[in-house]
């Protein structure tokens, strides 16, 4: 394809991405290298309906002057990345020196927010992704074998976990897994244990989050595989059937190779989305036992009265970096495919 034609085709897409994603990423990165100016704090007397108190407040005029000189704040280099909220290098060194066994050391590391979040995020990513990929493929094969009349309703029903907004969907599921809810109570009966609580035990919380993740994402891999199955060339299948290939052999040698590009695509998206797992943690209120990288960003931005843009920016950059590493094997494959395609 000629450069000029290519440019014309890609221009609209590229320009929105450039404006609304690329520029913000750069600005977020710059922001993550700065911290706020020192606030000028003054002692003040506050009175409200319930009495007066001596507190401190910010001298906004003095602080505004500082801000005018350097609107980005104070340059901090990569210190935000290495502080206790992120990689905590100093603290880890200290923990290493003061721990007498490796287990104590690991426990101490687990106490730092980023490492705690990473441990759940990675486990979640590597458990949920293969399950979704595999089960989604099986469902797609199954639905493909259904009589035509049943296909439509089945597709719709399969999409439900993805359609119903997590905001309310998980509110309902959260109640269902409660000790008094229908799933929770059934499990208690099943295991004959009245104190069984999916919400109070760390292990069960992790399992619950992952099961939810699989349930919620299955429709995605299902529908992509299903659409892919529609493009499997009939002639090849028929030829294979005439050659006496069994159904399993046909799936193995014709269908799967044909769907490989789609599988790679799904893996890419799933790895990325699972690494950014966030909603289930909030809706299942699992923060006590499981936090994720995206949850940290949310915490920096929204939960404190003062949004910590630098911390959120640094965590976002770490997210991008980790996603890059996660995707590396897939990317290398894509690179090879790309070169092969162009040779042939």
């Amino acid at each position: 394809m000629k450069h000029s034609t290519f440019l014309l085709f890609i221009l609209p897409s590229l320009s929105v991405m450039f404006l609304f994603i690329a520029i913000p990423i750069v600005s977020v990165f710059i922001q993550s290298l700065h911290i706020e100016h020192k606030q000028v704090i003054i002692v003040s007397e506050n009175c409200d309906p319930f009495g007066c108190e001596t507190t401190t407040s910010v001298d906004t005029e003095a602080s505004a002057k500082l801000k005018e000189k350097a609107p980005l704040g104070k340059f901090n280099g990569f210190k935000t990345y290495s502080n206790r909220m992120h990689f905590a290098f100093d603290e880890i060194g200290e923990a290493w020196n003061s721990s007498d066994s490796f287990i104590v050391f690991v426990k101490k590391i687990y106490n730092f927010p980023l490492y705690r979040a990473l441990s759940f995020t990675l486990t979640y990513t590597f458990v949920v992704t293969p399950f979704v990929l595999f089960l989604g493929f099986l469902v797609a094969l199954g639905v493909n074998n259904l009589p035509k009349l049943l296909k439509g309703p089945t597709i719709f029903a399969s999409l439900l976990p993805m359609i119903v907004t997590p905001l309310v969907g998980s509110l309902i599921l959260f109640w269902m897994v409660d000790g008094d809810g229908v799933i929770g109570a059934t499990l208690q009966k099943l295991f004959n244990d009245n104190s069984l609580s999916l919400k109070a035990s760390p292990v069960l919380t992790w399992v619950m989050l992952m099961v939810y993740g699989i349930w919620h994402l299955m429709p995605f891999s299902f529908i992509v595989f299903y659409a892919g199955l529609q493009t499997v060339p009939h002639e090849t299948i028929e030829a294979a059937t005439i050659d006496g290939a069994s159904k399993f052999q046909r799936t193995r040698h014709v269908v799967i190779p044909h769907l490989m590009p789609l599988a790679i695509f799904i893996t890419l998206i799933l790895l990325m989305d699972n690494f950014r797992v966030f909603e289930p943690i909030i809706s299942f209120r699992a923060e006590a036992h499981a936090t994720s990288i995206s949850w940290l960003i949310w915490n920096h931005l929204r939960e404190s009265a003062y949004p910590l843009y630098n911390a959120a920016g640094a965590t976002s950059m770490i997210t991008i970096f980790c996603v890059g590493i996660l995707l590396l094997p897939v990317l290398i494959r894509t690179w090879r495919d790309f070169n092969e395609k162009n040779k042939g």
């Binding site: 911290i35 401190t56 407040s57 906004t60 919400k199």
Partner: protein, 413 residues
């Protein structure tokens, strides 16, 4: 239903204000734009202001959104600001003041504030920054029938009495987990610590600086009290917030509660519960420590502010309109929607807990600029202690370390 009440309230306010006296709406032809959270009491004030003064304004818009707190600083920074008024609470006023986005109201109060009571004025170093209109706090809820059955005399007034009452209920075999508290990880659990720490006489920061000072004997005592209480709470307590505690209470599964006053009305009404629960539920003051005098609660208010980055006449019109909404007629029409600070409020049983707590000398939620950061650190780091995975000292030193990092980033340290 809420909205019917609201519309009715708005209409009554309209009727009273337009027929009995014409509201003073300040300069004509101004644009009034309000940003607020989305709940009935705020709707009542805004409705009343709108029906009084929308006619004389060139524009009267209201944005009621759950995300008000997230967007307000960005919305108010440009000149002219997106909104002429933001309706705030203790904690959010500080957030706007940090960036200098609210203006002092002294001259406006002088001109239009005839019907305001002096305790509605929120002053910071003598400058009036907001006008409060409603109050709230967490306090105790008791089931008197269950306390009687378990042989508890009167209503517990201290943490120790609460713990022994809970033990009596448990050992009498009435309930395994008689206590409900809003202990959901994050803001809620941090808030519960705040209340108990204040009851122990604790201070959050070193005098005159932004350095945290919670890792001390009082902090540890507060955590030990919290742990002792949690023993009697539902096993899922770390996931429970107001909706869940209210649900448990209404289902008759709890006998002692530490919940928000604003939930009193809906707990005591006849929906979602049984007569046995509602007729025996009593709201009372937040507890003190044994021998102490400060109730373990933080008092909250909601109030109006006026933006810095708008023209003086817009500010004047907005202020006049909102203040014209704070009438005893508006309160009378919406009496049960909030614990009003405005004249004409008739406190019912649902308001008993908050008034008792305020009269007992409870403190307001601290108005430090950096309080949100400490609260957030508490919310995230106390969990390990409550789960039993960490000592109290370790938890508090974690809180201080997390706070210190955040406060450095935000420029307070």
């Amino acid at each position: 239903m809420f909205l019917k009440k609201l519309i009715l309230g708005g209409l009554t306010a309209l009727f009273f204000s337009s027929s009995l006296f014409a509201a003073d709406c300040g300069p004509n032809g101004q644009s009034i734009r309000i940003l607020a959270s989305d709940f009935p009491a705020i709707h009542a004030i805004a409705n009343s202001a709108e029906s009084n003064c929308a006619g004389s304004a060139s524009e009267f818009t209201r944005n009621h959104t759950t995300e008000a707190r997230q967007i307000m600083n960005a919305a108010q920074t440009p000149d002219p600001a997106e909104y002429t008024s933001v309706i705030v609470a203790n904690s959010t006023l500080v957030q706007l003041m940090n960036d200098g986005l609210v203006r002092p109201l002294n001259d406006l109060v002088e001109k239009y504030g005839g019907n305001l009571k002096s305790n509605q004025l929120i002053t910071i170093d003598g400058k009036i920054m907001a006008i409060a209109f409603m109050a709230n706090s967490q306090h105790m809820y008791y089931r008197t029938d269950i306390l009687d059955k378990a042989g508890v005399d009167g209503m517990p007034a201290t943490y120790d009495e609460i713990i022994s009452a809970a033990e009596k209920i448990r050992s009498a075999g009435i309930m395994e987990h008689p206590l409900v508290m809003n202990l959901k990880v994050g803001w809620n659990v941090g808030e519960v610590f705040n209340t108990i720490y204040l009851a122990h006489g604790g201070e959050f920061f070193k005098q005159g600086s932004a350095e945290a000072s919670i890792n001390n004997a009082k902090g540890i005592a507060a955590l030990e009290t919290m742990k002792a209480l949690v023993e009697y709470a539902h096993p899922d307590h770390l996931t429970q917030a107001s909706d869940d505690t209210q649900g448990l209470w209404e289902a008759g599964q709890a006998a002692i509660g530490f919940m928000w006053g604003s939930r009193g009305g809906v707990i005591l009404d006849n929906e979602g519960s049984s007569a046995e629960v509602t007729s025996n539920t009593v709201l009372s003051a937040a507890p003190t420590v044994t021998g102490g005098s400060i109730p373990g609660a933080t008092l909250w208010w909601d109030g109006i502010t006026i933006a810095t980055n708008v023209s003086d006449s817009e500010a004047e019109a907005t202020f006049a309109a909102l203040v014209s909404g704070m009438t005893s007629e508006m309160v009378a029409a919406n009496n049960d929607d909030a614990i009003w600070l405005i004249d004409g409020f008739k406190p019912g049983p649902a308001a008993a807990g908050v008034s008792a707590t305020a009269q007992g000398g409870a403190k307001s939620y601290p108005m430090f600029a950096q309080m949100g950061l400490l609260h957030n650190a508490l919310g995230a780091e106390l969990v390990d202690f409550l789960k039993g995975a960490e000592s109290a000292e370790q938890a508090l030193s974690d809180v201080e370390a997390v706070y210190e990092t955040a406060a450095k980033d935000a420029g307070y340290l």
